[in-house]
Structure formats: structure tokens, C-alpha cells
Symmetry: none
Subunit: 277 residues, 3 copies
């Protein structure tokens, strides 16, 4: 059974989806990239899919576009996310910090500047004053280094669904992972665990690091923060923005981790249930 | 006016195009990425387009896939390019060197290993001995450093369609650009100027370097090695493999450089001809 | 034993470290989240660490930032490296060429332009004329192709701590690796072997090329140019600027190569010493 779709109907659907997602009308650009690629595929056929919400697709897209180093798409997607109300300014700022860890501070610095500019722009367009940013302090995490490491270790195990954590006596593992990434960043309020997982899986996807890809896909599924179907959709959204080769690899890893998680759930349940929660 | 296309017909077209391009049948993978993304879009709707040949699309694709750091797609595309006969082993090996310069030696190292393995595999499959590689020496370029710099300077101006070249007294410009990149690599026989331009534009595209993107798009068009329509198709092929954000930027630069090149041709012709050669 | 470290004290330490490293004061806290992360983690807790000098951390950071394609951080870090006197202009220019090979010529082209601009800016700020660049010729390497290949082969083995080198009869291996990368670039005076190794390990890290990562980490340790502790610090510095997932992979490889190098030293020494030289 197939649905019939004239190329005109598809272009119209794409242009309509573009306006809905981006909060402004698509440009009148007739190049193959914009028509065949962006309108007819990315907007007509990816953004319109079900299972993963428009808001969730934004977290994935923002990460990929911020990684791509191209300014205008990032300006547009940040504007659209805030202007639509899908993502709050608090969530957006926490996204930038999370991205800084998973994609590097330099790219995050550009992302950060763009968020401030688009936030101001939106208020100017609405003839409203731009609210002051939330103060950084007080933090919700301990100051004492030993307490931070203890908490970071516990958070690492929680987030990664693992019974162990890395040894602290190593700069990258101790000062980096336990003290800051899991000792501070992952537990900051203002961005949900689910949103953090969407951003993280997209980032490890374009960062091409094999074990992090595997472990973050596993943890996102095992924790039930992202369902199997949602994860499949994530890979396609990611593919549109970071290219099909990386998406094909991510898709392969997802397939393997789904099987692993199912096996583990069955073993834990002591049954042979095929039910995917 | 539009053509009608059932989703089944499109999937069949995609699977057929996959087999034609890759020289083997598509896997039975029902994930959204593979069906919605790869088969229904990349193969059904990009590889099947006219204007740019299948062979030319391979040079662009190989560059993007080699940059993406994912092993299996690169293995598959190298195999397909050689197995189909679209690209000779000599051309493929020169492609690896050209890619090394424009995308970095470490990524090229993996590309190089894969080329050797797939070349051997193809011969094994055909029950033939693997031919010996061509000897490196003698080179076609001068040995004397001063002569190399003079030739490199002339080649730089030719390839870039510029009346000037960088000053030699700088390691990157002198030892690198003039002595090696243009003094040796661009003039090596075994890979045409046209193929080199396809690879270069793809590489500067994913390398996100603003001035090289501009200058290599300009030169590819100004030299008439790549036509306006072929360049538009390049951007879409590139977008499928490196992601739509980078392709949107490349598409924008192409639009600007087309206008610039047209203006220059008109000024040079002293007429107001609209003909695009 | 833990020292008390209020988050205010940490911010102060971070702001002080920023000024010390960057040679200018940190920006005002307009985005506390991001600025908090950058100041409180990257500057307060990474740059202030011992074992790896501020100068050495700059070689790693410059490579990662130049790869990230974001202009302002690269401008700032180039300015800071030259303005502080930690890196000389000769070293900086050789760094650009080394980076060109290991991260791609297009990215290096932007890095090159920025170096020239910041060098001029520093002299303008000091009311001094900008010195003329050093002449490229004469080179210290042979001109004859056969001699270059012989020397390149010897240098390849030395630098990589390997008893073999790639076969010359292949464009990438012969014209590229043996004739240019090791036949010219690695042996250029003006940048020490140690600095070259820091840059190379950072580059192979973000280039995601598995075998080069392994081989360059191995060689840096085996040669004793970089100690085990210094290499661990490199991974953390790298992680802040290129992202956690890539740093996780690099960290894993470092762990494996340390074990391998220790085994080799013990076998060579014929003893069971635990001392790391």
C-alpha cells in the first residue's frame, strides 16, 4: 500500500512545514539543494513525521546545526526554537552548556552569542524589554571537591546505567568527567534528563567516538528516557542535519543496543516478554 | 504541474538506483534512516538526477564519506566506485592524496588503507591477481626548489583563476601551498582537473573554511571546468552526505559566485551576452 | 584532605586564570551558564593544572580551536599565544603548516590569515613596525627526489618509532607522506619535535582517524618526548576544546598505549622495573 504524492503536493507540504517549524516563510530559492533537499525532503518528509515531537526534533537539530559551523542555519533554528515557544530561554542556555561539553567550547561560544542575539531580537520584534539572565549562583551542587567527586560518581552511574564509574585519579576522568561533567553539568536544573539525552546522542553521533555513541544510545534506551521508536526517529532527524553516513552508523548502533537492552530487560524480568515499555 | 509518485514506486526506484550505484543490493533494513533517508531520498531522488554523471557524483560522495569518519560507508563507496569501473585505481589513489591535502592526512590514511583493501577484494572476487602499483618516480615536476616555487606559483594562478599568488616567505604558503600543493599535487597526472575540482569543492564545503569555499567555487566556474548546473547538482549531492546546513551555505556561495562569474565574462566579452558556456 | 573552595573563590580563580592565559580580561557575565562553565571549569580547573605548561597547553588548544571553525576564539587564542610571548612567530607559522597537514589545508588557510593579522595587531598596539617574515629558501632538505624519499623514509621511522615505512609507489604514501610530510615538514627547523607531537596528537584526536590516533600517541610516549602524565593532561585540555566524546576515545587509546610502551621498555631493559622514565 502506498500513498500517492504529486511533487507539487510534496513541495506545498514542505513549505507549510518549514513555516510551522521555522516561524517564518521559506525563501524563494529554486536551487536543487533548497527545493529537492531542504523543502521536499527535510521539511516535507522528516519534520512532519510522528512519534518524536517538534520540540524534541529541535534539540537534535540545534546540536547538529551548531556543530556544522554554518552561521545562518544556526541563527534561524535558535530564533525558531525560542520564537515558537517550544524551548524556553533557560532550557536553551543549558543546552549551550551541555553542547559545550559534548562538542567543545569553541563551537559553543558561537552558539552562545547567537542565543543572546536571537533572544534580544525576539523581544525587539515584540516591543518588549529583554529579561535579565538568571544568576549563576547559588549552584545546586556541592563546593567541596571530595563531595563533588562522590556525587559525580553517583550521577555518572545513574545517567550511564552502569554499576561502575571511572577512576578519579586521571585528569580527564577526575577533573573532567566526575568533577564537572557529571558532578555539575548533568544535574543542573533547567533542562530535563530527556532533553539532555537527545542532545548527547546527537553530539556523540557527529563526534564519531565509537564507545560514547554506543554507551549513550544504550543509556538513553535502558533508562527509558527515550523509547525505541523515538530513537529511530532521532537517527533520521540527525541524518538530515549531519549527513547520511553518520546517521547510517548511528542507526546500526541503535539496532544493536535495542537488542541488548531487550535482552537485559528480559533477564531482569525473568520472562520472555517481547513487550517494549 | 507535478509527477505522481507512490511511495512504493519511489522505494523501488531507490532500491534499483542503490544496486546500480553500489554494485550490490541494498540491505533489508527497515529503520527510518535507511528507508526514509537513504533509499527514498538519497538513492531515489539524488543519485538518479541528470546533469551530473554517476562517475562525477562518486568523486563528491567519496570525499564527503571519507570525511564523515564512518568506516562501512567508505568501504562500500570505494568498492562500488572501483567495481563499477567508473573510477580507475590510478584516479582513486590520486583522489586519496588530493583529499589528504584538502581534508587532512589522518582521515586520508584510513581512506588509503580502504582503497588497497577493496582493490584487492575486487581482484579476489574476480579470481585475478592484484596488479602492482605504479612507480612513484620519476616525478613530472622539477626538483630544484626555486623552479618548483616558480611552477607552483604559475599553477596556483591557473587553478585559482587569479592574477596573484601568495608570498613564498611563510612556511604554510611557501613550503606548503606553492612548493607542494600547487608545485606537485595539482599537476600530477592520473587525475583530471575536473575531478580535482569536484573533490576540492566538496572538501572546502565540509571543512567550513569561508574564503577557500568562495575561491574554489569561483575558480571551478570561471575556468569552465564545471558548469553552473553541474555546480548546483554538486551542492545537493554534497548535502545528502555532509548534511543540509553545510549544503545550504555552499548553495548560497554558489549563487553569489555564479553572478560574479557572469559579470566578469560579460565585462571580458564587452557584450551583454547571457549565454552560460 | 579537601580544601574549601567556594564557588565564588573558584570563579575568581577562573577569571584570574583567564586574564593570565588570554592576556586580556574575561568578558562580563552576560550568559552566566556558558560563562560560568568556561570560567569555572575550563580556566579555573583545566588551565591552572600543573604538569603541562601553559605554553604546551596552547599548542593543543590552538589546534582544537583552529579545527572548530569558529573565528573569534581562534583570533583570541592566537593573539594570546603571541602577546604572552609563550609562542614565537616562527613557531606559530610552523604550527600553521603542521596543522595544515594534520587537519586540512582549508582550515589552515584561515589560521594563517589570523596569525598574520594578530601579529600585525600586536605590533600596532606596541607602536612597533611588524618584522619582515623569514625567507623560505634555502630549505634544509634535499632537492633530489630520490634523496628526499630516502630521508623521508628515515624520518618516518624515527618520528613514528617504527622499524618500517610505507611503500613509496603510491601517490598518498610516496608523494605525500615520504616526500613531503616526513621528507620536508617534520624536519623543518623552527618548531621542536615536542611541540609537533602535541599538535599532532590533538589533530589526530579531532580527525577521528583510529590508526593515526593510536600510532601518534604511541610514538609520543615511546620517544619520551611526552611523559605519561603530560599525555593524560593533554586529553583533558583537548576535551575542553574538542568535546568530551573525542576526548573519551583519546583517553582510552592513551591508556592502552601506556601499557604497551611500558611492556616494550621492560622487554628492552630485560627487567621488571615499574619506573616510568
Amino acid at each position: 500500500m502506498g500513498t500517492t504524492d504529486t511533487s507539487t503536493a510534496r513541495s506545498e507540504r514542505g513549505r507549510s512545514a518549514f513555516t510551522d517549524v521555522m516561524t517564518f516563510e521559506p525563501p524563494a530559492d529554486s536551487s536543487p539543494t533548497m527545493t529537492g533537499g531542504l523543502i521536499d525532503f527535510v521539511f516535507a518528509e522528516v519534520w512532519t513525521r510522528t512519534v518524536l515531537s517538534r520540540r524534541d526534533r529541535r534539540f537534535i537539530t540545534l546540536s547538529c546545526v551548531a556543530d556544522s559551523d554554518v552561521e545562518q542555519p544556526l541563527v534561524d533554528h535558535v530564533y525558531a526554537a525560542l520564537n515558537s515557544g517550544d524551548i524556553s530561554i533557560t532550557e536553551m542556555r543549558e543546552t549551550v552548556l551541555h553542547f559545550a561539553v559534548y562538542a567543545g567550547w569553541p563551537k559553543a561560544s558561537r552558539f552562545n552569542i547567537i542565543v543572546d542575539m536571537q533572544w534580544e531580537r525576539i523581544h525587539r520584534e515584540r516591543d518588549l524589554p529583554t529579561p535579565a539572565p538568571e544568576p549563576l549562583l547559588p549552584l545546586v551542587t556541592p563546593s567541596d571537591p571530595e563531595e563533588r567527586l562522590v556525587q559525580g560518581t553517583a550521577t555518572f552511574k545513574d545517567v550511564n546505567c552502569l554499576p561502575f564509574a571511572p577512576d578519579r585519579d586521571n585528569p580527564y576522568q577526575g577533573a573532567g568527567i566526575l568533577n564537572f561533567v557529571f558532578g555539575e553539568m548533568w544535574v543542573r536544573p533547567g533542562l530535563s534528563m530527556r532533553a539532555r539525552r537527545l542532545i548527547t546522542v546527537a553530539c556523540v553521533g557527529f563526534q564519531d567516538a565509537p564507545i560514547p555513541i554506543l554507551s549513550h544510545v544504550y543509556a538513553a534506551l535502558k533508562s527509558r528516557d527515550i523509547s525505541f521508536e523515538e530513537m529511530d526517529e532521532l537517527a533520521l532527524q540527525f541524518g538530515a542535519y549531519s549527513g547520511l553516513p553518520k546517521a547510517a552508523h548511528l542507526s546500526q548502533v541503535i539496532s544493536e543496543q535495542k537488542a541488548r537492552v531487550l535482552d537485559e530487560w528480559r533477564a531482569e524480568a525473568g520472562t520472555n516478554s517481547e513487550e517494549q515499555p
